[in-house]
């Protein structure tokens, strides 16, 4: 649906601006990115407010998105699948962060996340997809450095939050980062591929039922 809307709007814009088909495709692509992100963010905001986990979910989202920005990671093939998984994952992590954890447990989890994150970045980042892969080694190294910088900033913020006794917020930052690291690993790729296959089977079943 988002793709169709983006194409229609881009087509109208292209006609008004009298540009070629390539340019119209670029407009549609840009619009699809904006509309897709806006819809996902709006649903996430509303559901997190409804679940009373707004702050922890937003902290999860910031940690998740900032690491994903440079580290990359797996993507789903369909927008509906992305919407379901992305929103569920962040809402689930946001809710999980509200669980009361002891200072010791939080410290251990944070250190484990830091170690896992550092290893993941060195080993697999920037993790590409079928649609976009970074092969140039210089660019890959630059992306890795940026991702490591984000991990450093994330670690400092987590320590500050723990020192301020904002355990739920610190836990949310750790969980958001953890979610992002998982999606960079081969395990995350396998899980998303399996989920994509399940969604395809369900979608085919639904289409068959509708055709009858």
């Amino acid at each position: 649906m988002i793709k169709a809307i983006a194409r229609r709007v881009a087509g109208t814009m292209g006609a008004q601006l009298q540009v070629d088909r390539d340019k119209v495709e670029i407009f549609a692509y840009g619009l699809e990115i904006i509309l897709g992100a806006l819809l996902q963010l709006t649903i996430l905001l509303l559901l997190s407010l409804f679940m009373d986990t707004f702050i922890t979910t937003m902290i999860c989202l910031i940690a998740f998105a900032s690491l994903r920005y440079f580290g990359g990671g797996v993507h789903l093939n369909t927008y509906s699948g992305c919407l379901i998984v992305g929103v569920s994952l962040l809402l689930g992590l946001g809710k999980l962060a509200t669980i009361d954890v002891s200072l010791e447990a939080l410290t251990v989890i944070s250190v484990l996340a830091l170690l896992m994150g550092t290893y993941t970045i060195f080993r697999w980042a920037p993790a590409g997809t079928e649609k976009k892969q970074i092969k140039d080694e210089t660019t890959r190294l630059r992306q890795r450095k940026k991702a490591l910088l984000v991990i450093t900033v994330w670690s400092i913020i987590t320590v500050v939050l723990i020192k301020q006794k904002l355990n739920a917020n610190a836990f949310a930052a750790v969980l958001g980062a953890f979610g992002s690291f998982i999606l960079i690993t081969p395990l995350g790729y396998k899980a998303f591929k399996a989920f994509d296959n399940i969604l395809n089977i369900i979608w085919k079943g639904v289409r068959r039922c509708l055709e009858r």
Binding site: V19, I26, Y29, I33, Y69, F70, H75, G86, K131
Partner: protein
């Protein structure tokens, strides 16, 4: 006035599209199909 707004929107969309094909992952989970005209930039 309308044409200025359409031009402004077009500029924003092209900017977003170019970020979309840059090495940084602009997307949280889903990435749309990259147009043929931008594939050489990936």
């Amino acid at each position: 006035m309308t044409m200025i707004m359409v031009h402004a929107l077009a500029s924003v969309l092209v900017f977003v599209a170019y970020i979309g094909v840059s090495p940084t992952s602009w997307f949280v989970t889903y990435e749309p199909d990259i147009p043929e005209s931008l594939k050489h930039r990936v």
